[in-house]
Each structure stands twice: as structure tokens, then as C-alpha cells.
């Protein structure tokens, strides 16, 4: 008899424990989804603001007069930009005339994985600006590609691209100095700048080849 009662208690215990765990899971999952839903609008708003801030860094606001975040073009997979996923391209115009294309490019061959860039290329083919948006390069070594981490405050590394264009700079020169090009790099981290340089070069080429289509497509406004 005792063994039977024991078995029942053990079972009852197991059920009770499982129920307790389940209740905890439900409560904390609820807490998580509540926090997520409650914070979502604010997070999205600041994400848009962040995006605008990034765009401001690569292209001065005075150069265009349209609402750039609304004048977009959805890009499908674009291997030329290293993009395996769909991305968005922003078009800057002044008085309806094309000014610049702002888009994301990915350098797939960074020292520690992908380096994400935002690139602005003027209608003339000139690079208006490049910024790194996401990377995992070694802190203190390869992270100078990020303007905030660059010790050279007067002329950060990433600003070297500004003003470069395919017309002025030959393919051979679109490389870091170590590879015979014209771009500086810091000793100790060559793979990182090499990857970024290659990605920007490819982005410039892609923009040059597709410029007219990109500005015209779906432009109703």
C-alpha cells in the first residue's frame, strides 16, 4: 500500500513541478512579448532616425530636396554588392533631377566576417561618402574603418573614398597601398581595409553600370 501512495505522490509531484515550470514560462513569455510590443514603435522610430543620421553622414542634406526615405527602390539579391538578401536603395533628387544613390553594400571577406557599409554615389559617378554600419573586426586593430574608433580624427580612414570616381581612379589604384593602390591602411590590419576597398570599388562599378535604370525605375513622383 505504501508503495502505491508513494508512486502517486511522486507522480503528483512531477505534475506539480511541470505545472509550476509551465506557469513561469507563460508569465515570462508574456512579459517578453508585452515589453516587445510596448517598445516596438519607439524602437522603430529611433531606427528610422538612425538611418537618416547615417545617410546624413554620407550625403549632406543640403544636396537634395526630396524625402529620401520615401523615394526607395527595393533591390533583390545583388551579388555585385555582396548582398544575399533583399535591400533598399534610396534615391536623392534635387528639383526632380537625380543627385545620388544611397545603398547598402557588404564586404563578405572581412577579417571576422561580413562588413556592412552604406555607400552614396553621386549621379556623376563620384563617391559622396562611405560609412561602416556593422562589422566584427578586431577591436583596436581593424575597427578603425569605423569613424568613431579611428584615431586619426582629422582625416579618418574611411573618408579616403570621398571624391573618388571610376573616371579618375583606375582599377589598379582602387587598392590599398600594400597591393599597389592609392589607399592608406594601418599596419597590423590589412585584410579589413582590403575588404572594404574591394566592396566600395564594386559598389561604384555597379552604380555606374545601373545608374539610369536605378534612377528611372518606378519613379512616379
Amino acid at each position: 500500500m505504501t508503495s502505491v501512495t508513494k508512486e502517486i505522490t511522486a507522480q503528483a509531484m512531477a505534475v506539480r513541478t511541470a505545472a509550476t515550470l509551465f506557469i513561469f514560462v507563460v508569465i515570462f513569455t508574456g512579459l517578453l512579448s508585452g515589453a516587445y510590443l510596448w517598445t516596438k514603435p519607439a524602437i522603430e522610430a529611433s531606427a528610422t532616425e538612425e538611418k537618416m543620421k547615417l545617410v546624413d553622414e554620407v550625403l549632406p542634406r543640403s544636396e537634395y530636396d526630396n524625402n529620401l526615405l520615401d523615394d526607395t527602390l527595393a533591390l533583390t539579391e545583388t551579388p555585385e554588392l555582396g548582398q544575399k538578401d533583399p535591400s533598399t536603395l534610396f534615391r536623392a533628387r534635387k528639383a526632380g533631377k537625380p543627385v545620388a544613390l544611397v545603398f547598402e553594400a557588404v564586404a563578405p571577406d572581412g577579417y571576422a566576417g561580413k562588413i556592412r557599409l552604406i555607400v552614396a554615389i553621386r549621379a556623376s559617378g563620384e563617391v559622396a561618402g562611405v560609412r561602416v554600419t556593422q562589422h566584427k573586426e578586431t577591436p583596436g586593430l581593424g575597427d578603425y574603418i569605423e569613424i568613431k574608433k579611428d584615431k586619426n580624427k582629422a582625416r579618418p580612414w574611411i573618408t579616403q573614398f570621398t571624391g573618388m570616381s571610376l573616371a579618375q581612379v583606375s582599377d589598379k589604384e582602387w587598392k590599398v597601398k600594400k597591393d599597389g593602390g592609392r589607399l592608406d591602411y594601418y599596419a597590423g590590419a590589412t585584410i579589413t581595409p582590403r575588404a572594404v576597398t574591394k566592396a566600395v570599388h564594386k559598389a561604384a562599378k555597379w552604380a555606374e553600370a545601373n545608374r539610369d535604370r536605378l534612377f528611372a525605375e518606378g519613379a512616379a513622383k
Binding site: R16, T20, L21, V25, L32, A42, T138, G140
Partner: protein
């Protein structure tokens, strides 16, 4: 409530006797990754203080409702949920601070200090004590990571306060050693962190041993926590 004596013990344990980084040797992953300068180390610690205080109070309040057999999954659930909620709330409401601390908050999930303190302290003590325990453990981590970061940065690149511009955009790192200092890469890479951490532990043990000798007492046995890095 909390007595003066209890408070003193909690503070002493957190800051020195049970210091997470140099006595308990916990949370080495973020320690190695983050302490390339003092500012990063301090920021990670601040984020940890917030999470530890919150998880301490949450688990201490619920401790009588949690069956002993399933305490670990429940603790993990609570800590992970809290970290995520803190992350979301920071992102939404304190965006400026989030930009500074934000990258460190997900790192805390990989930090077993939180779980270790919850299991060792909050599960057995009232909420107020547990909150203080979390805060002081965090302060202990703060000075250790700050010091380790400062040392690595000084030896590695000859500056102090590198990364300060991330927190206060107007400030810049101060170059202490001459500009021509070639830098010592090893200090900035993970092995350098291990070596310097070893030196810090040795220094702490030396201090303890000296104090013990003076008191003519045996040095306290180091508390080792295995299986959690």
C-alpha cells in the same frame, strides 16, 4: 530589512573577498572580449550591475515559489527574460544610453556571473540583500575590469581613456606614452588579457597572504568555481 553588519559583509564580499573576476574567476568570455580599454570594461560592468540588481530582486522575491528541482531552468528563464526586457526598454526609452551600453547588454547573457550569484545568493536571501549583493558584485567587477582594461590599453597602445568619445563625444583618449610608442599588440589580444588577469590574481593573493601573515593566520583557501567560464 538589512542590518549594518549584513550590508558590510555583502559589500566586502562583492568588492574584494569574492570578487567575481579575480576570486571566483567567472565571466571570462566578456572579460576577454571587452577589456581592450578601461571605458569598455566599465560600461560592461555598469550594464551588469543593472541586470544583477534586477535579477537579484526578482529571484529573491520569487524564491519561495520556485521548486528546488527546477530552480536552474527557472533562473535561466528569469535572467534571460530580464536581460531582454532591459535591452528593449533601454533601446526604446533611453536611446542615447543604449547606444553606449547597448552592445554590452546581450553580452551579459553569456555572463555566468549573473546566474552564479542568483544561485548562490538570491535563491537563499531576501530581496533587499540580494539587490545589494548584485550591485556590489557588479562594483567588484567594475574596478577589476576597469583596471584590467586600463592596463591593457596602456601597455597595448600607450593611451588612457580610449573609447571615452563613445560615451562623451567631446572627450578624446589621452596619449600617455610618446606618439612614437610602437604599441604592444599582445596586450590587446585575448592572450594579453589572460596574462594580465593572472597578474591581477597574483597581486590579490599576495595582498591576502601578506595580510594573513601579519595576522598570523592561514591564508583563506581560494574559492574555485569550476565548469563555468
Amino acid at each position: 530589512m538589512i542590518t549594518r553588519e549584513e550590508f558590510k559583509t555583502i559589500a566586502e564580499n562583492g568588492i574584494w573577498k569574492q570578487n567575481t573576476s579575480i576570486v571566483q574567476i567567472l565571466g571570462l568570455c566578456p572579460l576577454l572580449a571587452v577589456t581592450t580599454n578601461a571605458v569598455n570594461g566599465i560600461m560592461l560592468s555598469l550594464a551588469t550591475i543593472i541586470v544583477m540588481a534586477l535579477s537579484g530582486v526578482a529571484i529573491a522575491s520569487l524564491r519561495n515559489l520556485i521548486p528546488h528541482e527546477i530552480r536552474i531552468p527557472v533562473f535561466i528563464l528569469i535572467v534571460a527574460a530580464l536581460v531582454t526586457v532591459v535591452d528593449l526598454l533601454f533601446n526604446a526609452n533611453l536611446h542615447e544610453l543604449y547606444l553606449v551600453l547597448g552592445i554590452f547588454i546581450p553580452l551579459i547573457v553569456t555572463n555566468c556571473i549573473v546566474l552564479a550569484r542568483v544561485e548562490a545568493f538570491a535563491a537563499k536571501n531576501p530581496p533587499l540583500q540580494s539587490t545589494f549583493d548584485g550591485i556590489f558584485m557588479g562594483i567588484g567587477m567594475l574596478w577589476t575590469l576597469g583596471l584590467l582594461g586600463a592596463l591593457r590599453e596602456f601597455i597595448g597602445s600607450g593611451t588612457i581613456l580610449g573609447g571615452i568619445d563613445m560615451v562623451f563625444p567631446d572627450l578624446h583618449p589621452i596619449q600617455v606614452l610618446p606618439e612614437s610608442y610602437p604599441g604592444f599588440l599582445l596586450a590587446l589580444l585575448p592572450p594579453g588579457a589572460f596574462i594580465l588577469l593572472g597578474c591581477l590574481i597574483a597581486w590579490k593573493n599576495w595582498m591576502e597572504a601578506r595580510a594573513a601573515e601579519r595576522a598570523k593566520l592561514k591564508p583563506p583557501a581560494p574559492i574555485a568555481t569550476a565548469g563555468c567560464h
